[in-house]
Symmetry: C2
């Protein structure tokens, strides 16, 4: 540490007289993302003592980014804003007061409105979280949002023990796939529900089985089998919901007494339907989970660091596979945004020329 | 206490050779209450050292009693059973080990399956909770279930402060009326929803207003006014639901961030409908409440004693009016059970000849 401090103090700042122009995907108003997002140039200023200059290695395009640009997400960065809340950065230059981050380190953004869709940027040190550079770039770029969401929902609502059961819908979602893998690691059984009428139903079931799913059923199969299913295995203590709608009646109804149903999405765009008796006589509880809100709470900083270390370790051991993705060169952002907005294709990850 | 102990030890047991025959409303099987409930005689045995003999002064007929006899309530006393879970008793004789209850004391039953629909009975001391005999018989007979339910729901889910707001549906229910009165006492504002199309809408609104309701609206009026209403007053931290169904969307949606909706009934016989976004972005929670379950938990014994003292005091001060009721002589039980099963008329309270 002393050596580092000394180095940063005496070394000549080699970038002092070089102008760096970042390219960034900027929107000046809310609206239809393919229309309002423009590629612009931004000349970087010299960094201040507490700041860090970085290059982006990879940045995801998530549905929440689309909704943020549309102005319908509760995250509203001041306009004009740069899109993207997730990605992995490489530190290029650190300010004179920054002692715990070095050139070449990898980091992920801490605040949700960070704006990762840019080639280069400057941020306060405190906006970055250092991560291992032994991860693959894709593992690193996707570490923060989906794996953390799955991890927290399994840890923070009920005390799950080996042999317990978790039921989830939208099991094929990114978070759903990570829930399956984390549960396998924790020796927790999963009952996984997928939409009815998927063209690739068989492949999806097989794939989730390979990830470690104990039971995979369509929603209709679940309704039919729910009674007999939980005669053979314990009733779930935890249900995870990213779909909502009428199907929740069966998920909430099958919970063990004092079980909890946690909602983190509403793909059906329908309200949740929950049986009244389950509240009164089984004392089930319904909660929501939003990773952004959890991250914002300063009280969670230490837990967050610990969680990222666990997730890094599991990723390095190959126990957490990222959701299937498609790499897109930064310049082809337009099509990638359009496809994500339309909700089709694999998860898009922007990669940058220098890094590709 | 020493005097009492001495008295019970030396006094001759005047009932030793007298046979007492209790009349009781008994059911030997589950089914339609007016058909399966029969008036039977039960010869009482001499009491044991830890037991108490009592006379019933008044006993309520609650919808939960009807459902218990039907076999559809989670309380299932072993058959044959005596109906009724609520009422007030007068102690007639105490066993030699009972030092903290004396002849003439009033008591209410502790366990839910007690069976209050009888003229006389014998119970373990531990099944009785002593209460003040300064209450009216009706206040005493109705102290345990509805006022306790209202009290606990206001105390155990969110920390309500003077000036906070509670919203409730079924505000005209017994619990609803008690919530209004307790909130007035605690300086908490209430927004009270009643069913649409009630013939006596005006009278109901006026009556709830007299009890202390700040706002009384039909469900349809609430949907229309919900936005403007909570511009004028703080958003509710707590919502109490005994109706369920689609209307819950508006009650849950109007909650303040981290607000809680507590369900204690489902009069509409519909599932709850809850907006997904309120879970995720406002972090509301849904809980259930069942007085019986709370009472069963031995950890709550001291809290229960304290609560009954508070409710007794408020009743004696005239701050808690019981719901409107109709006194029915014990012998006319048949019609009273029929009316309660059909869900019409005022709350029925059985009174006994010696006490009438």
């Amino acid at each position: 540490m002393h050596v580092k401090l000394l180095n940063s103090f005496v070394r000549p700042n080699i970038n002092l007289f070089r102008t760096i122009v970042a390219q960034q995907l900027e929107y000046k108003e809310h609206g239809d993302p393919p229309s309002v997002v423009r590629l612009t140039n931004q000349t970087l200023q010299p960094i201040r003592a507490d700041e860090v200059r970085y290059k982006v290695m990879a940045a995801t395009i998530n549905p929440a980014d689309i909704n943020t640009i549309q102005g319908i997400y509760p995250i509203k960065p001041p306009l004009p804003a740069v899109g993207g809340m997730e990605g992995v950065l490489r530190v290029e230059e650190v300010g004179s007061n920054v002692w715990d981050l070095a050139v070449g380190d990898w980091a992920i953004p801490s605040p949700a409105g960070f704006g990762t869709w840019r080639t280069d940027g400057i941020a306060p040190r405190t906006d970055l979280i250092k991560i291992s550079n032994r991860l693959s770039i894709v593992q690193a770029a996707t570490l923060a949002v989906n794996p953390s969401t799955a991890y927290r929902m399994l840890k923070d609502f009920v005390d799950l023990m080996p042999g317990d059961v978790v039921v989830q819908n939208g099991a094929n979602s990114a978070v759903g796939q990570l829930v399956i893998q984390l549960c396998r690691h924790f020796n927790i059984s999963t009952v996984n529900l997928i939409r009815d009428g998927k063209a690739d139903e068989k492949e999806t079931k097989d794939y989730l089985g390979e990830l470690g799913a104990d039971v995979v059923l369509t929603e209709t199969e679940f309704k039919r089998k729910v009674r007999s299913l939980f005669e053979k295995m314990p009733s779930p203590k935890l249900a995870l919901n990213c779909v909502s709608g009428r199907g929740i009646i069966y998920m909430a109804g099958c919970l063990a007494p004092k079980g909890k149903l946690v909602t983190y999405g509403g793909m059906s765009k329908q309200p949740l339907h929950v049986p009244t008796g389950a509240f009164i006589f089984k004392e089930i509880q319904l909660h929501g989970f939003w990773m952004t809100s959890w991250n914002r709470d300063a009280a969670n900083a230490v837990k967050r660091r610990k969680m990222l270390d666990v997730l890094t370790q599991l990723s390095l051991e190959g126990k957490l596979l990222p959701v299937k993705y498609q790499l897109v060169p930064f310049k082809e952002y337009q099509q990638a945004i359009e496809a994500t907005a339309a909700g089709h294709g694999r998860k898009k990850i922007l990669v940058f020329e220098w890094c590709g």
